[in-house]
């Protein structure tokens, strides 16, 4: 698979960039509109939860925005990957390319969008007068982990959705639940015991937790947490690739 991605790197780049442009409707305005969504989400969550969890967080708005940005990376990335095969029927039926390229390029598009959202977070952080500390060096690694999770999940979802069109609705429901279960607006580090251990089995919950630690609270990420996140992302990638390769031969007959 890696050989194919390298061989077709020009194509991967082209597809990722053209999808990115289509998403932002080739305009600067489209780009601002797309950032409105996470900011609105921030506003709503802040109004509702700032009073409920009062003293748990200083800079709760940054806590929220970082969570929203990273969760969006996962949620938008997998939703786009889900359509990765179906949305390009011509490239499946009329030419042969290794089909994982379609999924990989959609994950790359999601990565570019996530970097933009992270930029917005950076601006908010600067406005709030909070300077990043040296622990921020973990952030690229965290981004890579989410990228692997997005790519792996998208391989499975994109393939399954090609055969069973309601996978997209099921996934939308799972994402809704995941939004709550990943601690986008709740600080799981205040939880104790089995409940905390259970919640942090979800790699996205753990990723959100450690990214806040290193970006906002100047805490070193434990190697156990890092290993857990990286290992679970690789497991997701392996499972995703397995499902994808089982279903790939029939794609042209199903799209």
């Amino acid at each position: 698979m890696i050989k194919n991605l390298w061989k077709y790197r020009h194509l991967v780049k082209r597809l990722a960039v053209s999808d990115f442009k289509v998403r932002y409707k080739n305009s600067v305005l489209g780009f601002f509109w797309s950032l409105l969504e996470p900011l609105l989400m921030l506003l709503v969550l802040y109004i509702v939860f700032a009073d409920i969890f009062p003293s748990t967080q200083e800079n709760y708005h940054l806590f929220l925005l970082l969570g929203i940005a990273l969760w969006d990376f996962f949620a938008k990335g997998t939703s786009m990957g889900l359509q990765g095969i179906l949305s390009k029927p011509g490239m499946v039926r009329q030419v042969y390319i290794p089909r994982e390229i379609l999924i990989f390029s959609s994950s790359l598009t999601a990565l570019m969008m996530a970097v933009l959202e992270l930029g917005v977070f950076g601006i908010f952080m600067a406005i709030s007068g909070l300077m990043p500390t040296s622990t921020i060096i973990y952030l690229p690694l965290i981004f890579m982990t989410i990228f692997i999770i997005v790519f792996g999940s998208s391989l499975a979802l994109g393939a399954l959705n090609t055969y069973y069109r309601d996978v997209q609705y099921i996934w939308a429901v799972i994402l809704q639940a995941g939004f709550f279960a990943s601690g986008v607006f709740i600080d799981f580090s205040t939880y104790q015991g089995d409940l905390k251990r259970l919640l942090l089995l979800n790699p996205m919950a753990r990723i959100l937790l450690i990214s806040r630690d290193c970006v906002l609270y100047n805490k070193v990420v434990s190697s156990w947490d890092l290993t857990f996140c990286l290992a679970s992302s690789l497991v997701i990638l392996l499972i995703g690739y397995f499902i994808f390769s089982k279903l790939e031969p029939g794609f042209a007959e199903e799209v």
Partner: protein, 242 residues
């Protein structure tokens, strides 16, 4: 050297009694006793080889399996049984297209197609003008494909495919929707490709062009290989089973 070798190729399509496209329907179907599908055999034991520089024509009635065979060679669908070997990079023109995306402009689509064929950015940029000019579509370079007429899409797809110098070309009904001017251009390309020793598999109902360009012809009937041989022989055999 054999550029394409097909050995005992079979292709079955699944035709579900009711098309089940959702998990929900599948789960529901498990409770339902009459679940199942029929298989339709579109290709039955096809065997042939194509040498470098050779043109193989494929003829037969509607539904005889010609397009299915081309898709198997292109690797977009996989044979149920048998083995296909291809030595070289394939350029395929299937279902009257080369994989264009309707939401992108002519230029963007050409760039993506170039990338599929492994060209670098500069190599593609060098060819864009030539492709648009050959298709007579220079004026429409920034128009989205979804606003093209079906003939224009075919023109653009064909010019893109042939201007990017393929090693092996698979052509399914290129002449079907083009106007006279386009057909003339196609013939110019065909003549040039014959001189350049390109390997081509040509599917068409236009027996005149099959006769004119092909070195040998494969005749299909209901998925069976009736014969493979000289164009004259196969065309008269085709007419006799009509």
């Amino acid at each position: 050297m054999d550029i394409i070798e097909a050995k005992n190729i079979w292709k079955n399509y699944k035709i579900p009694h009711e098309k089940r496209n959702t998990l929900f329907e599948i789960l529901y179907g498990l409770l339902d006793t009459k679940m199942g599908y029929e298989t339709f055999t579109a290709l039955k034991d096809i065997n042939f080889t194509v040498k470098k520089g050779e043109w193989l024509g494929v003829i037969g009635h509607n539904g005889s399996g010609k397009s299915t065979l081309l898709k198997v060679i292109a690797n977009t669908i996989r044979p149920t049984k048998g083995k296909i070997t291809v030595n070289g990079k394939i350029t395929s023109f299937l279902e009257l297209g080369v994989g264009f995306q309707p939401d992108l402009t002519a230029k963007e689509n050409i760039k993506i197609y170039g990338a599929i064929m492994g060209l670098s950015d500069t190599e593609i940029d060098d060819r864009i003008d030539g492709i648009l000019e050959f298709g007579g579509l220079t004026r429409f370079k920034d128009t989205k494909i979804k606003n093209f007429s079906s003939g224009m899409i075919v023109r653009l797809a064909f010019s893109t495919a042939v201007q990017i110098e393929p090693e092996i070309l698979l052509l399914d009904e290129v002449l079907a929707v083009g106007d006279l001017d386009f057909q003339k251009k196609c013939f110019e390309v065909f003549d040039r490709y014959r001189e350049m020793d390109k390997t081509v598999v040509y599917v068409s109902h236009d027996l005149g062009t099959v006769q004119r360009f092909c070195d040998k012809v494969l005749l299909l009937n209901h998925g069976e290989q009736i014969g493979i041989g000289s164009p004259e022989e196969m065309i008269s055999l085709y007419k006799s089973i009509a």
